[in-house]
Amino acid sequence: MHEETAVADFGLDTTPRSLADVAHDAIARFRGGDLGPVPALLAIVTLVAVFGLANPSTFLSVGNFANLLEQASAVIVIAMAVSFSLLLGEIDLAAGFTAGVAAAVMATRLQDGWDLPSAVLLSAVVAVALGMFTGFMVAKVGIPSFVVTLANFLIFQGILLLLVKEGGTVGIDSELIRDMVGASLSPTQSWIFVVIALALFAAFEVRTQRASHGAVPMSLVAMKVAGTTAVAVIATLLLNENRALARANIEIKGMPVVVPLVLLLLVSITFVLDNTRAGRHLYAVGGNAEAARRAGIRVDRIKLAAFTACGLLAGVGGYFLASQINSVSATTGANDTLLLAVGAAVIGGTSLFGGKGRMINAALGGLVLALIDNGLPLVGKRSVFWLVEVDFSSSGVKAIAAGLALLVAASVDALSRKSAG
């Protein structure tokens, strides 16, 4: 009986809906300003098309594809860290230096002869402490996060300088760290990974469909799984090609290790945010802190926890940074990385106003920025509108392009918020 009343009253929740209904809803959401990751996906497609046309032989090569994924990894992980602060409606401008400090702590400990687990553990503890410090200043002292992390920007940079000595570079001798960014799975391992990942994804989607009482049509699940499978299979086929230079007498093939590593982080953090009380409360505090407080949520604790998670994850991003160049210097996590990480999350569709965003957005935004970084130099010198000669490979153009991408993404965010009103 109970069930029947409920069905009658909330038909949308329990009556099966068609693909057309779902598409209709999606368009309505889109019109309402909830664009999600769509702009980032469009940007990826556009950038690939533009750069592919401009320089097909280099940009569209398998080697460049693998390179792109490896370039993007550190920014993506740090962007995921920054997402924790953005979900609160706060910001962390110092996440890049948190990453740098964590990497430097690890590198110097290794240099002093510590074993890898101890060095990693200490650096993780340091990253957590830095995050907690930020969280304490924001949640307990009540300083705007913009100011706290601006100060931290200088403080953490100072710590990094002291650790690596001015102008110094600390090399990393650990094979495991060096392999994080750079090594690849064997072609067989790549296939095993892809098959397992796809199976888990399909199982998860089907489970969600079952729990939705038909509100999610099975055809949509089928399309999602088929689409993902197609992308994954094509990517794996490409990555399993030999991508060593023609002259080289070694073979480089298989999926770069960063892909499963980043995916693992992405999926596990997303799961925690979607399925735990703390995750739910993080979104609540970001959406309406006063409402969360009235609902009995300890807002300051959530903020402290979010900044702590941000610190730890930024630290993990630091390992990726260190692995990229097999060393740590005073510029690890500085300049580009720092700002790109903040930009990546926003470009991916995470709101600057809090409460809206997912880890996948950081990944997509990170890819957009990596594409700009990777593709522009390959465009070379071109005349723009037959007027001015522009050298697209210059770092000036790169910086302007990345900055414009962030502004466009932030405009989309701000405007969609207005229209949702």
């Binding site: 109970h2 009343t5 409920a6 009253d9 909330f10 038909g11 949308l12 929740d13 309402g32 729990a211 509100a215 979607d274 399925n275 735990t276 009380r277 739910r280 409360h281 979104y283 609540a284 970001g286 959406g287 309406n288 006063e290 409402a291 969360a292 009235r294 609902a295 009995g296 949520i297 409460g355 809206k356 949702a420």
Partner: protein, 263 residues
């Protein structure tokens, strides 16, 4: 009529005083809430309505006086005490997270867990059942984000949330202040239904039409004192209520039939 007076009030405040520094806001206030009734609390701005409500909520604990719940002396020293007694509040400025959906808001801060993880399907079912028992038909899906709902729908969700917790008393602070005519009607119908289901409902309102249409009793405050506690009958007029608000006296027969009529 007199039967309602014969029954014991669910919540009773006697001789309550509250000061903020040198400002004496509540003077020997008596206030009663009966189960199954809508008790409206009216009064001009600054009359002490919201201080009284906040003292019940535990936000501003009382300085002196008695609070009785089901005939027993209780102390409400903080919001937790109020929640434990089953007193829930629906605030004027909605306490909802626009980015979360209906279910997520209804269970906010009190999420159900299964094996340490959110038990989404059980929460969804409970939210649907609660809305259904309240006869809510305006919210199409409990998976809609609050952002996509109208003001009336949001207020409905806020009220349903208060009811979800086996609450005994629901206090609504100006629930129709920001709503249009049709939505106001829906919300008032819901307020009435809460009382009909046996809850004690306190409606804080400035709107005499609202008060007249749903209330069983009206408590009127005037300058920090309880000016009158009257039963709403067919002969009660809007003018009488306005008189209570503006002068603390009932037009026509001043000072009679105030509180204290239950020996």
């Amino acid at each position: 009529m007199s039967t309602s007076l014969a029954t014991e009030p669910l919540l009773e405040l006697r001789g309550v005083n509250k000061s903020f520094g040198s400002v004496h806001v509540l003077h020997d206030v008596d206030f009663r809430v009966h189960a199954g009734q809508v008790t409206s609390l009216i009064g001009d701005n600054g009359a002490g309505k919201s201080t009284l409500v906040k003292s019940i909520a535990g936000i501003h604990p009382i300085d002196s006086g008695e609070i009785r719940f089901e005939g027993e002396d209780v102390a409400i020293r903080g919001p937790r005490d109020a929640a434990e007694l089953g007193i829930e509040f629906v605030y004027q400025d909605l306490s909802l997270c626009e980015n979360l959906d209906v279910v997520q808001n209804m269970f906010l801060g009190r999420e159900r867990l299964r094996r340490g993880l959110l038990d989404k399907s059980s929460m969804e079912q409970a939210a649907r059942d609660t809305l259904a028992t309240l006869g809510v038909r305006t919210v199409k899906s409990v998976r809609q984000p609050i952002r996509s709902l109208s003001g009336g729908q949001r207020q409905t969700v806020a009220i349903a949330r208060a009811v979800l917790w086996n609450s005994r008393i629901v206090v609504l602070d100006e629930p129709t202040a920001a709503l249009g005519v049709a939505q106001t009607e829906q919300v008032l119908a819901l307020v009435r239904r809460l009382a009909d289901q046996g809850l004690g409902v306190v409606l804080v309102s400035h709107n005499m039409n609202d008060v007249m249409s749903v209330s069983d009793r009206v408590s009127a405050m005037y300058l920090g004192r309880m000016a009158a506690d009257i039963e709403v009958t067919a002969s009660t007029t809007k003018e009488q209520l306005v008189g209570l608000i503006t002068s603390g006296q009932r037009a026509g027969n001043p000072t009679t039939d105030t509180h204290g009529d239950d020996t």
